[in-house]
């Protein structure tokens, strides 16, 4: 009977006393974005659109003090970024880096704000200009090849562009090895005015 008592005590002891005490810690080793880091030219790879049979390539240029940003997005009439269709240029000033943030997908971002200087669209071929005029793209019929026209504040297709001097809020994601950056999808904004998701393109220096 005594032996049974010992066994019973062990059985009771097993579920009540078992396990390791857990202690956890979390280190934030995400890259802190600085103006020095951003300054320079960042180029994305060619992104094809197999549905529209076009492709796009974007280049970001941050000024030496990273307070001005110029984004040049070139659309091509092929899948390999060879024949230019049109170019959209966004220029921003008074760029200011903000705090780190997290998207709904738990991605670590850095917020930034800027003021829109201008947004322009330039058809690169007469065929493109003709097509834009036919569609009254952005409500305009004055498109001509090689001429930049401001589209700031206009609605072009499904996109409404920010007006000149409007505040622009965006996110930057930096890779852990500092080799590339990504920007927020400014067509999908949250209630705080910042993008909720990221564009897939990586920009490399």
């Amino acid at each position: 009977m005594k032996s049974y008592l010992i066994l019973l005590m062990l059985i009771i002891f097993l579920p009540t006393g078992c396990g390791d005490n857990l202690s956890t810690s979390t280190k934030d080793e995400s890259v802190s974005v600085t103006t020095d880091f951003l300054a320079g030219t960042w180029t994305a790879e060619c992104v094809d659109n197999t549905t529209a049979l076009t492709s796009t390539k974007t280049v970001l240029v941050f000024s030496a003090t990273a307070d001005n940003l110029s984004s040049t997005s070139t659309n091509y009439s092929d899948l390999n970024c060879v024949t230019q269709n049109f170019v959209i240029r966004k220029t921003m000033n008074t760029l200011s880096l903000g705090s780190k943030s997290t998207t709904a997908q738990n991605q670590i971002m850095t917020k930034y704000t800027a003021v829109v200087s201008n947004i322009t669209l330039e058809p690169k071929t007469s065929d493109t200009a003709t097509s834009l005029n036919t569609d009254s793209y952005c409500g305009s019929t004055g498109w001509s090849s090689g001429a930049q026209t401001s589209i700031a504040g206009l609605t072009c297709g499904s996109i409404t562009y920010k007006a000149q001097n409007a505040e622009y809020s965006d996110l930057i994601q930096v890779s852990s090895e500092k080799t590339f950056i990504r920007l927020g999808n400014t067509t999908n904004l949250g209630s705080n005015g910042y993008p909720k998701t990221l564009y897939k393109e990586e920009y490399y220096k």
Binding site: I11, L14, G19, S30, Q105, S176
Partner: protein, 226 residues
Amino acid sequence: MFRFRVFLLIILLFSPLSLLAQSESSEAEPEVVKPEESSEMQTDEKDRSGGSEGGLFYSTWGIGVQGSYNFTNEILFGGDVSSQSTSSSGGSSGTTIEVETNIQTVNAYARYYLRDLEFTDGLFGQAGLAFRNWSGTGTITEDKTKAKLASIKMKWSPMVLVTGVGWHKVWSFGMSTAISFNASIGGSRTVEYTENMLRFSDAIKSNFEENTDFPTNLVIYLGYSF
């Protein structure tokens, strides 16, 4: 936890049955035992003082070797060494998660066998110390760019108290088998999360911590007694 519940249920079910079985046999007429059966029973139920045995086992904490010495018929001193390395890989949404754990354990213990009741011959309780070299790592990387999104490091305390219950059967021809269920007490585990491009949500953390917790150890042993 499920295995433990099943085991506990078996013990709680069989304990009263064993008492009942003993009670019935004491009132029944004596059975005629054939000479060969008698010989086998005597061999199985012999006093094991001074005997030794060794064997292999499979357990939650790894595969290993075990050796033991019967100090008395009821008390056994034993030790074992086990090792287990696991690596797994999976992922979703363009990410890959790789987890690797390395577990090496040296265990020294004493057992007390319940020899006083016939049915429970071989039932034992044990307690001892386990010396652990346990560690684990995990990394989450982005498939497209191979950028490191986050990582995890785990480390367990080197020493822990281990207690358990089990059943050990030695056959007349020397083979022996045992099953035991043990639990560790008094140890600690540290998990260090490093966030590079991705924050760990509370749900991911608790899920990970649950899946890498090994508080109990089910041991299935096969050996030879000499």
